[in-house]
């Protein structure tokens, strides 16, 4: 009934009624395939078991079946449905482990993607080492992205470009995300680009995506309760062509430098006026 109501009321939302979001990155697509295989098996099991239940309820009512059979059990039947359930689970295990490498192992970047700053830890690493690393830092209630940094906190010394909330990535390039938090636990989740990863203070977690379509814009948001404005801790990932991306990085770097210079000037002036300065 609920399904029926939603079918009538929500044609625009039906795109995601029955399967996980995907389409932005190969790992998300693999998760979707895995989900759909499980979904198929699940629907089958659902129909058989609910069907048996409904049949029993309608067929064996007292009015239609006045005398109950005094059966205490059947060992053969017990063994067969135990084994049956186990077989389904073995199938699911095998399918999961077949699909797993395509979800956790980062693929090569496309040949035409530009080489960008990279670094490596135990983070996912494409076979040819060709990737973009972004440090994702969660804090109440915004995400900060430092481009070309493995979260080694040398942002300012290395004068690396960064942005808040909106992440810009080149299409076709494998993007490694190193995820940290500076206060409470957050979770990084952009559904179309793969599964979520917790940002736990004191830990670095990893994930990756490889955006397939330039010009796409993906929405995500923090998935772990992180405080009063948890609902507004959103993330946007904008996919650019490699050329656009290089231009954007350059522009962003210049903007940051300009702002830094202005702040430095302001601070110098304040210091000369005798105001106490705050150290960053």
């Amino acid at each position: 009934m609920a399904i029926g109501a939603s079918l009538v009321l929500a044609p625009e939302a039906l795109a995601n009624c029955c399967t996980v979001k995907a389409g932005g990155s190969p790992n998300a697509n693999s998760i979707k395939t895995l989900y759909e295989i499980i979904f198929g098996i699940a629907v089958l099991v659902f129909l058989i078991v609910e069907g048996a239940l409904l049949y029993a309820v309608f067929r064996f009512r007292a009015s239609k079946h006045p005398v109950a059979d005094q059966i205490h059990g059947n060992t053969r039947l017990e063994i067969s449905w135990t084994v049956g359930a186990a077989v389904i689970l073995v199938v699911l295990t095998v399918v999961t482990f077949i699909k797993l490498p395509s979800i956790i192992d980062a693929p090569n970047s496309n040949a035409n993607a530009d080489e960008v700053l990279s670094a490596s830890l135990t983070a996912p690493n494409p076979p040819n080492g060709h990737k973009l690393t972004i440090c994702v830092l969660g804090r109440q209630f915004i995400w900060r992205y430092t481009y070309g940094n493995d979260c080694n906190k040398q942002y300012f010394n290395d004068r690396l470009p960064y942005s808040f909330q909106e992440m810009y990535v080149p299409a076709g390039e494998t993007v490694d995300l190193l995820i940290q938090s500076s206060d409470v636990i957050h979770a990084w989740w952009v559904p179309s680009l793969g599964g979520k990863v917790d940002a736990v203070p004191g830990y670095t977690t990893y994930t990756w995506f490889k955006a397939l379509k330039a010009g796409a814009l993906y929405h995500g948001q923090c998935a772990q309760l992180c405080g009063r404005q948890h609902a507004f801790m959103t993330a946007l990932v904008k996919v650019l062509t490699p050329t656009q991306y290089t231009a954007w990085i350059k522009n962003q770097t210049t903007l940051i430098e300009e702002q830094n210079d202005q702040v430095a000037t302001l601070r110098r002036n304040l210091a000369q006026q005798g105001e106490p300065t705050e150290s960053f």
Binding site: N16, Y35, A42, F46, F60, R61, A68, A86, T93, R228
Partner: protein
């Protein structure tokens, strides 16, 4: 013709007689000072249903806030308080203790004992529960906790949750934890030592099996959460750094400790429900339970595996893949004994002669809904898929299917089944069935669409959302459903209140049931039984009835099964 009219058929009964003089003439004082397991059980049930209503109101407030995008009815702060109150209330103040309420009332009756092994400890466990509830809800007057019922640090630390509400939460866990622990020890000792003569382990009712395993799991799991909240308390007030990442502490330690308790807790909440279903189905199928040994064994296997699956709540936490794979497989394994139970329940209905009472409606509704909750659990056990579904509305839908549709439907089946025993009166069947249908429709409307919400990328615990996300329609359906669901539950609560004064007198054994509690009067006298029969099977009441029929010369057709069937319309007119 109501389906309960066969209750009026004259079948000889062995009755007990009240021999007790009340200690005091003041009725309320008698309740406060009581150590009678039945009175404590009633107090447990009434109190937990009150908490159920409060948790329900909190849920309705949240659903109202989410019914339209960008709603400003409730602020982020109050929404977080509501979700913390709702989760904590439903888990610690409703589902776990309501099972203890049923256990209190029915364990001694079903095993033929006069009371629990430690009656005063039993009273203590009730009053500690009440104290826990008061401490927790008193925070409403100041500042309720807002870190969720998991209270993950650092969000629950002094720095990010400075208010005393978080401490009230910790105090609640301690008080209800001690309450459940002493209760669990009491159940364990009672079941092991005080069974009727002849009631060997193969003859104890399945509800008793599940209460036994419930107790064992509580004894295993509660110390972990007790330790964890004590560590949180010392972190907050006494300068320790167990969970403080800025000083070599680890929030992941909390996650492990909490869920080492938290997952067995899930089975603590659902196993007694399984037990109730295993009692209700054979009675109204007029047929023995199918595979008694398999159901009892699967309960034990579930309990064992329940302690080995906690990290499937942590699939997105910093944990190596090989550990995730282990917890995926252990979570898969727990699906097997659960599946075995479902198959055995369906096989119990199969070729039975179903007497469609309200209790059976709820029990069948339970199976139908629990199948969905079980299947979505398999999705969540596959860790790469869980990376998409974890902490989304899919998870919210999943655990409401197993806890609301599972445990609560089982509790309703159990309440309708045992209501005549506890009150001496029949609950209204007509209102009960109406309540079932309204609840069933409202429940599925509320929670089925939440699967789709999760798949569309809506995280749980957000207090509002934007209209461009495509979540608005699903949320509206869900919110409307929640009011229908609430109406259904209120109908049943009204039914229980109304029938307490106005229901038909039930007599000792209105359902012609199988277990020993139906051997005594309704409600039972303080001493429960004057004589305790020797137990020869898992269905002592059937044995007793059969014996009496043989002695009184009633013809045994079809092995006596005809007396368990609904009377034919013609026969009913004569009576």
């Amino acid at each position: 013709m109501g389906t309960t009219d066969y209750a009026l058929r004259p079948v000889p009964q062995v009755l007990t007689h009240e021999i007790h003089q009340p200690r005091t003439t003041k009725k309320w004082l008698d309740w406060v000072m009581t150590t009678d397991h039945k009175k404590i059980g009633i107090m447990y049930l009434v109190l937990t249903f009150v908490f159920f209503m409060m948790g329900g109101v909190e849920a309705l407030l949240m659903r109202t806030q989410l019914s339209v995008p960008n709603n400003t009815l409730i602020s982020g702060e109050h929404y977080n308080e509501l979700l913390t109150l709702h989760g904590t209330t439903m888990v610690f103040l409703f589902v776990v203790p309501v099972m203890a309420g049923f256990g209190n009332y029915f364990v001694p009756l079903m095993i033929g004992a006069r009371d629990m092994a430690f009656p005063r400890l039993n009273a203590l466990s009730f009053w500690l529960l009440l104290a826990g509830g008061i401490v927790f809800y008193a925070s409403l007057l100041w500042h309720p906790p807002e870190a969720g019922w998991w209270s993950y640090p650092p969000l629950s630390s002094k720095q990010y949750s400075p208010s005393g509400g978080q401490d009230a939460w910790i105090f609640l866990i301690h008080l209800t934890g001690i309450s459940s622990l002493v209760g669990a020890i009491n159940f364990y000792v009672t079941i092991v030592n005080m069974r009727a003569p002849g009631m060997s382990w193969g003859r104890i009712p399945l509800f008793i099996w599940t209460i036994l395993i419930y107790s064992v799991l509580l004894i295993i799991a509660l110390p972990a959460v007790g330790a964890a909240v004590t560590m949180l308390l010392t972190d907050r007030h006494f300068g320790t750094h167990w969970f403080d990442p800025t000083d070599h502490g680890s929030p992941v330690l909390w996650e492990n400790l909490f869920w080492f308790f938290g997952h067995p807790e899930v089975y603590i909440m659902i196993l007694p429900g399984f037990g109730m279903i295993s009692e209700v189905l054979p009675v109204f199928s007029r047929k023995p339970i199918f595979g008694y040994k398999a159901i009892a064994a699967s309960t034990i296997v579930i309990a064992f595996l329940a302690t080995l699956v906690w990290a499937h709540h942590l699939f997105t936490a910093p944990i190596p893949i090989v550990v995730l794979a282990f917890f995926m497989l252990s979570s898969f394994l727990i699906g097997i004994p659960t599946g075995v139970k479902i198959f055995n329940w369906i096989a119990t209905l199969w070729r039975g002669s179903l007497v469609m009472t309200t209790s059976l409606y709820w029990a069948i509704g339970f199976i139908g809904i629990f199948i969905i909750g079980g299947i979505t659990g398999i999705f969540l056990a596959v860790f790469p898929v869980d990376w998409q579904l974890n902490d989304s509305y899919f998870v919210v839908a999943h655990f409401h299917y197993v806890l609301m549709g599972g445990a609560v439907f089982a509790i309703m089946a159990g309440t309708y089944y045992w209501y005549p025993k506890m009150t001496g009166r029949m609950a209204s069947e007509r209102l009960g069935k109406a309540s079932f249908w309204v609840t069933f429709i409202g429940f599925n409307m509320t929670f089925f669409v939440q699967h789709a919400l999760g798949l569309s990328g809506m995280p749980r615990r957000i207090y509002t959302y934007q209209p461009d996300q495509g979540w608005s329609t699903y949320n509206l359906i869900s919110s409307i459903g929640s009011y229908i669901l609430a109406a259904g539950i209120i109908m049943s609560c009204w039914n229980f209140l109304w029938s307490f004064k106005h229901g038909k007198i039930s007599g000792p054994d209105p359902w012609k049931a199988n277990t020993l509690e139906w051997f005594t009067t309704s409600p039972p006298p303080p001493n429960n039984f004057d004589t305790i029969p020797r137990i020869r099977s898992v269905e002592p009441m059937r044995d007793i009835r059969r014996e009496i029929e043989i002695q009184t010369g009633v013809m045994q057709k079809n092995g006596g099964t005809e007396q368990f069937s609904r009377p034919q319309p013609v026969a009913a007119e004569h009576s």
